[in-house]
Symmetry: D2
């Protein structure tokens, strides 16, 4: 197992998407690992963000040379890779949705949200990396659910907005610059987004409505969450519960007296959260605002955090706190 | 009074802000009126968007020559102008917030939301033009409230996002390009936005939570509204109520099978709305999405619609339906 | 032939690209024509920007019902359409590059830059609509060339920047929002852009260097042109020559004391130009700045200007001067 | 003097502008220094980008505790600070324009462009940090001038574009988001930009025309430079000269077979350059494209590079190569 004195070889499958590129950038700054291969179906042969690293075809991945492999392939394509890796000694972080809670394929996989399941990740050989939207929603709501802060019969509404890299790097007309610039619109309406089963699996008992919107920015997620409060609690309770849970966490910022915007987190591997009470409303309702970089804590940053735990490095090594 | 055969002289006070400039553009295309003066404190002497029209200092406004004057001054400065106009025969459309419902100064003013109060506007001498956010919220919710579609004990949550022109044209650091680009953040949190009294005045009995966000786009408002439904109604009911109320309205588009985005309305004087039912939630909840151009139906377009009614023109003359 | 009293039927082939959509918007405001068909290979059956107009498959275009057809298909695909139209009485405006000067297929086609060849367009049955970049370059330089203002041995450098709609609406990775936003880069370097033969055909004798760049904006072209001046002339000469040539032109604005930016022209069908002398340089050199909307005067607007001339309408009817 | 084993205390005057904030970010990652004070006139008392660092009023700067002070004040305000520091042992990097070549106040100051004057910087107590535009222009052209590659009688044209942070963080109407978004325009036309004397001082003998444009992006500079070539040389010569001069430089990337765009350099402290020959032009002309982050190598990054040389650190410590 890796330690401070040796360099751990790692590989990246699907390294030319936005998440794969961000992952290579983070790994390039991490002095405990070396990327021994990075694959791309469409761009093999091209030099990539890490000077000196050339993308190879998937068939040329030297999997056995790696201690750990990241799967950054499109959803649906990680299953086959996971099977191929099953009988090797290589550890896996699956950044796709294929083995997340609610996928029906999560058996044998640890859900890698370290602030909530650090010890399970530490010993894991196979980790499923959380989705970008669920990372913010679960980190904000799980402690409140545990502390009984949310009104039991209420509905929690999550109004979310994401930058365009969240939709991937495939060439689609609706993602063209001239379509997205100056626009803002909701999508996956009707409470049917594919991240909902993942959120519900970690927030059982909660009635959630989740409405995502597409923002004309490259990266960043903002989630404005409306929470009906249980009797006797208020926004200060939320603040205190978060502080108790996350006071020592390097990658979770609990703000005081304000809420975060995208600019507070884009380019970092942190999630930030704040809470405000609403005046003049029929029932006690708190508004939570959660912000993270969909490519940082929402994908590649969290994948490296998981890798650090799995390989025995300091948890936040190489990350932007 | 103006009719199809004569040209009505009108004036604009505060013509160099974003609303004033948009108003001049619309009036420049309106063949029933002539702008006889347009004032600006900071830019008097400069030629403005309408070729041949030069901005003058407020003191040089030839008020008596106009049949109708638009007040586009910053909030707080319209009161003095209204007093000055009180004993003249000049009609007034106040585009500022100074005489809106909830301001405490609304006595003697008609609230100019023509789709809900057309006849009152038609005979009015003094019209208070609605705010941009309230225009969308009230047009979407008022018919539902009248029809008993909204659960009586429920809270309606309005999660709104606006382009930057909504914040005015004064030089403020937080509105600089390098601050706003790539960012997205909530403001006026805690249910304290100054448009709330205006909304509540038109939606009495409703418990509202309103959270605005600043979008990195120049113009456009999107309002995602979460409505708890009364027993026995569903999203189709919402759709039917809207159709009955707005089926003949040129400036209200009720969409079917989809919801609007900013790109559907920016550059027009219309408001567009759509509705979707949410699955898998503890209580029946519909999501409404309302979109309008904050400078069009949200300000200058609606001001011209009011002017058309006040001066006897066809209601939508010169407007972009 | 059309006149003020009858409505001319027209058709659009390739109506779902950015130029086609802009063309439908302009034609929708033009009260002398009716769009009797608009085709799209990929989006047939969809309703388009003009309410009530449904896109049809190319095979369903009722060509003989039109007095004039616009070809807005991708470059290379207009040749077959032109052949098909050859033995009909239907007039054609080819908005593609297929029959422009330098294409080798320009015989029998009038180059439709009305400010320089109005009379030829008036009688034409087949008009080739200029490219977006050449429209600005030729309108700025042709009068200077005629007046002997440009140093005979000099090289004219055109440094140009275009919004993303200039690259078309096909789904390509390099045009995705997340690739273009926050970036700015040159392309077609080495003086090899496909618009150069077209420019040279109208500016014979001139040695041109043309370098385009991709701007992170949806629309607009800015061309900064460096012109070595002949002995005895200066920037004021340029200004005077332009004024003499374009003083009466509704769609060409010659600015005084300033140069245009994109915001002066986007959303219009005009081109604007200004000139400045450079101090402290070894030889007399003027900087011209030319701005136009690539979809307006650079494509659809100019196509309608040509149509107006071909069908006997007032030249600027329906256009945004 | 600082070395690898001790921490050097440094201070920042004017830490709340875009350059000051970027400088604090870089210094926060530099493990050889500690920021002992950071001042701001307008924002004293506020916590800044470096967690735990609070901005103080200029009067509270504990100057004597610092080994080196950065002056990031607006142009014109550094003179007084420099005088105050004159008789202390504190080293100074002036990031403002006040002591640059051509300012008339450059006596006693070393011009800190390390790739061209490394040894002078190493021993210096007072360094004037280059402007953002000159950094790119001089690094690209100085080696070509030395090698005789540029035609002696020719004019070199620099067509440049900069992101909005280059204009500073003062609240000005023309820098508001709604003014800049979707626009692109030239400024300082007529070869009168205040950076020209600085460029000419390092490129004596060259006849330069410099035209900057404002890009709707937060950061980044692209300079497209048109260079008339001396007899017998071509683009390959340019490439070879650059390679010889910069082959070992960590912060200068000479690209092959392509030219850089903003996305290649934004967020780094590097400058990148490429060259292309132009075909079909009357005289041999090369197009150079130079890209850098105006806040990185164009300001704060280069300031830290100078600090590293002045304090005896490895030159690129803490920088993003």
């Amino acid at each position: 197992m890796a330690n401070g004195h040796s360099i751990a070889p790692v590989g990246v499958i699907g390294a030319n998407g936005y998440t794969g590129q961000e992952l290579l950038r983070i790994l390039g700054r991490h002095d405990g690992v070396e990327v021994v291969f990075a694959t791309s179906e469409s761009a093999s042969g091209e030099e990539t963000v890490s000077a000196g690293l050339r993308l190879v075809a998937p068939a040329d991945a030297r999997i056995e040379e790696a201690q750990l492999v990241f799967l950054c392939v499109p959803h649906g394509q990680a299953v086959a890779w996971a099977e191929r890796l099953e009988n090797t000694r290589v550890r896996v972080v699956d950044v796709s949705a294929d083995h997340r809670p609610g996928s029906g394929r999560e058996a044998g996989w640890v859900y890698g949200l370290p602030e909530l399941s650090r010890e399970a990740v530490r010993g894991a050989r196979r980790v499923s990396n959380p989705g970008c939207y669920p990372t913010g929603v679960i980190l904000a709501l799980r402690p409140l659910l545990d502390a009984g802060v949310i009104a039991s019969a209420g509905v929690v509404i999550v109004d979310a907005a994401s930058g365009v890299t969240g939709a991937g790097r495939s060439a689609k007309r609706e993602l063209l610059f001239a379509e997205v610039a100056n626009d803002y619109r909701a999508y996956a309406l009707g409470n049917v987004h594919r991240h909902l089963p993942e959120m519900r699996a970690s927030l059982c008992g909660l009635s959630l409505v989740f409405t995502p919107h597409l923002l004309p920015v490259p990266r960043g997620i903002l989630e404005t969450i409306y929470v009906p409060l249980a009797p006797g609690v208020d926004a200060a309770t939320v603040q205190r519960v978060w502080h108790e849970r996350y006071g020592d966490e390097a990658l979770v910022s609990v703000l005081e007296d304000r809420v975060p915007g995208l600019a507070d987190v884009v380019g970092t591997d942190r999630v930030a959260m704040g809470v405000v009470a609403n005046s003049a409303v029929a029932e006690p309702l708190a508004t939570l605002v959660v912000a993270l970089d969909n490519l940082g804590k929402g994908a590649a940053g969290q994948a490296v955090q998981n890798m650090n735990l799995m390989l025995g490095f300091a948890e936040h090594r190489g990350l932007r706190c």
